[in-house]
């Protein structure tokens, strides 16, 4: 068999597996979310006999979905903004100063990724109990999320700070620019993609985070993942779980695609000006 034929055979195989792996389950989820309760979707029918948006409307009107959406979509931007503010100074130090132990400091920034999330969640809640802050749920989740996802924020912003060109800063200074003006003309253009990428990645991670929201938030705060978790457990209703799954997945896929574009454009700032 020639190399080309082998390759096309492999491509066909992988595409087939990926189809079974992805397309079929998602199609099923979409169909299940459209099942009308008027007539159940039984095993002998290929498609649901009656399809409607009844489940979507019903979930919207009669479940905690609305609260979950509101809390998820307020938690995430708050965590993203706080994370950005906390990450900027550290990223500035790591990206613009050369000091002994810098590589070690970069490594230490990854710590939140190594500790299993449920350990962080449980013993952070123990800490909140000790401090008497256990009723401060919303703030606690925002705080925990922004710190847990700092590794991503610091990593991305450090790279952005590294791409700021020293000759731009020097030129601005020589022309008499103030500190703010220097920041605006020399730093900001190079930092912009990194800042958007940071906001977006913390936002996505926070929307998807389960352990902290589950342990610290329950029972007062419901987010989309904790709602989906209970829909998969004690009150499993397949069409409702399908609706929630799609609400969790679809927006994030689009955000991730935007993120990937941003990350790709994060480097070309290097080429602004001379090569």
């Amino acid at each position: 068999m020639t190399y080309e034929r082998l390759n096309s055979l492999l491509i066909t195989m992988v595409v087939t597996v990926a189809f079974i792996w992805l397309a079929i389950p998602f199609t099923m989820a979409v169909l299940w979310s459209l099942v009308d309760p008027a007539e159940p979707w039984t095993a002998d029918k290929l498609l649901p006999p009656v399809m409607s948006f009844y489940r979507w409307v019903d979930m919207w009107e009669n479940s905690s979905l609305r609260y979950a959406l509101i809390s998820s979509y307020t938690l995430a931007p708050s965590a993203a903004l706080l994370g950005l503010c906390l990450a900027l100074p550290t990223a500035f130090a790591l990206g613009r100063f050369d000091f002994p132990g810098r590589e070690f400091a970069k490594l230490l920034c990854l710590l939140p990724l190594v500790v299993p999330p449920f350990i962080t969640a449980i013993f952070f809640s123990a800490l909140l109990f000790q401090l008497g802050l256990n009723t401060w749920r919303f703030g606690a989740i925002v705080f925990a999320h922004s710190i847990l996802f700092l590794p991503y924020a610091i990593r991305i912003l450090t790279v952005s700070f590294e791409t700021v060109r020293q000759d731009h800063i020097d030129a601005a200074r020589d022309l008499g620019a103030s500190a703010w003006a220097r920041f605006r003309v020399a730093y900001l253009p190079a930092l912009k993609p990194g800042i958007s990428a940071t906001l977006l990645i913390v936002f996505i991670q926070s929307i998807e985070e389960f352990a902290i929201a589950f342990i610290i938030g329950s029972p007062d705060i419901v987010t989309i993942p904790t709602l989906l978790y209970s829909a998969l457990g004690q009150d499993f209703v397949r069409p409702n779980a399908a609706v929630l799954s799609l609400i969790l997945v679809v927006p994030n896929v689009f955000l991730m695609l935007i993120l990937e574009r941003l990350m790709r454009s994060a480097n070309p700032t290097l080429s602004s000006g001379k090569g």
Binding site: L22, L108, F118, S245
Partner: protein, 284 residues
Amino acid sequence: MTLRDWVPIFALLVPGLGLILVLIGSVVYVAVAQSFGYYALLGQSAFSLEFWSDVFDRKLFSRAVRYSIYVGFWSAVLSVALAYPLAIWLRKPFPGSIGLGALLKAPLLVHGLVAAFLYINVISYNGLLNQFMQGIGIWSEPRRLQNDPNAFGVLLLQVWKNMPFALLLLTGAVQSISDDILDASRDLGAGPWARFCKIIAPLSISGMQAAMVIIFIGALADFTFQTTVGPTNRQSMAQLMVSFKSRGDWHSAAVVGVSLMTIALLGSALLAFTSRVIMRGGLR
């Protein structure tokens, strides 16, 4: 560097790295202290080894440890074993290879809970798999596949979710190997297997170790897959920890938590070391 140089750097590091160290440090500290009887929320706080000996005596605990290690180990090994050939295949671009890479990495965008739901949907009693197997006549009646006792469902989901991650790391590692080295070895008569053992494996080892360790820690500490599709007669360590905590038994939860962290640390070191030995020495 003088003290005057250090002060601004230190001040800049405080809000980011400083907070990370404070949060993670205090989380680990509270876990260790609670496992030895301190920071009791009810009753008195005093040093005690009682919680360690109590938890270690329980069959529930040793089963959870064995089970979590089983899930962690096989998830890491299977994900990396599947991702390696794919990464090597996609090393050199060919028409459609970018699309294929994106297709293979798509599960990275799907939340674990959603993956669990999709899986339950496919294997449920009246699900697609049962229908298919009956349709082609292999099974005469539908089978109960949910919450299978060997945790194949959990392993399948772990691989589904983690193989793309391993692929991401390995593609990076494999693509950084220059063509010159591979061409040279080919000129010297090395076959595909020899090229893999002597060039690709040693040069991509750090990417592979990183993938192994991160997947191992994640799967070892799994809670969501275990509670949604895992066997009902066994608990994972994270699940056991959460169940102790929800009964208000913080000290036992802390013992499980500290053991989980220790196993994560030792296990990753062992995995990283063993894979290095196998890739560098054993195959030579």
